[in-house]
């Protein structure tokens, strides 16, 4: 079977394998196709003719292909043009109220025993150590040795 402009083919390789499309252009061993797949160039060796045919002009537009393939009940894939949206703004977290903090401490001091009050230095470094946490490294790469 000969593959010509307008013939319906099935892609047999890659992520579009198993999808049907119409040939729009042929140049050497490359073809431009459109249909269930993206509108894209492919190697003719990666196409298999299905025997069906549609009337199409050379380098027909996407809308023409859409109309022509309606009769065969092939839903054409539409690619939405990308529109640049607004960048998400980073919002800094508001600092905790400095007024509240001393008030809490005061209440604690009264409740706690004298022993804890005597060691305020021992508590402070422990809190400092806990604060800087480095984000864990994601192991996306594949470890070969382990």
């Amino acid at each position: 079977m000969v593959m010509d402009i307008g013939s319906i083919v099935m892609k047999t390789a890659g992520r579009d394998a198993g999808k049907r499309a119409a040939i729009i252009e042929i140049e050497g061993n490359m073809a431009l196709i459109d249909g269930e797949t993206r509108r894209r160039k492919t190697n003719l060796a990666h196409l298999e003719p299905t025997g069906q045919k549609v009337d199409l002009k050379k380098s027909a537009s996407h809308d023409d292909v859409k109309k022509a393939l309606e009769s065969l009940k092939i839903t054409v894939r539409d690619t939405k043009p990308k529109t640049a949206g607004e960048r998400p703004k980073k919002v800094r977290k508001a600092k905790e109220n400095p007024v509240e903090a001393p008030a809490k401490k005061a209440t604690k001091k009264t409740a706690d025993t004298e022993e804890k009050e005597a060691k305020p230095d021992a508590k402070a470094p422990a809190e400092k150590k806990a604060a800087p946490k480095k984000p864990r490294k994601k192991n996306n790469g594949i470890r070969q040795k382990s």
């Binding site: 099935m10 198993g18 298999e48 069906q52 382990s146």
Partner: protein, 90 residues
């Protein structure tokens, strides 16, 4: 003396050369076998086979090829399947 639990061949042995030019044997879990094609049993490419715990944490796109039957059939069998399907649809 080797510890008795290390004498079985369950763990694989890796010889590691230390900075002091000393070689030691490390004992590690064996890796799972390579993924095979469902139809022709050929080794599949593009599918890593590290220990299960590492494989589970990989992203989905790193676990199998992005094509129909990716990770199930080899490319030859996949293409043969679709060529047959295209010819039948006449």
């Amino acid at each position: 003396m080797v510890a008795p639990r290390l004498k079985s061949r369950t763990l694989r042995r890796i010889k590691v050369r230390l900075p002091g030019s000393k070689t030691v044997t490390h004992y590690k879990r064996r890796k799972p076998s390579i993924a095979k094609c469902r139809k022709c049993k050929a080794n599949l490419k593009g599918i890593p086979h590290p220990l299960q715990s590492i494989f589970k944490n990989l992203p989905k796109t790193a676990k199998r090829p992005q094509r129909p039957f990716g990770g199930e059939l080899c490319t030859k069998c996949m293409r043969a399947h679709f060529v047959e399907k295209a010819r039948k649809s006449e």
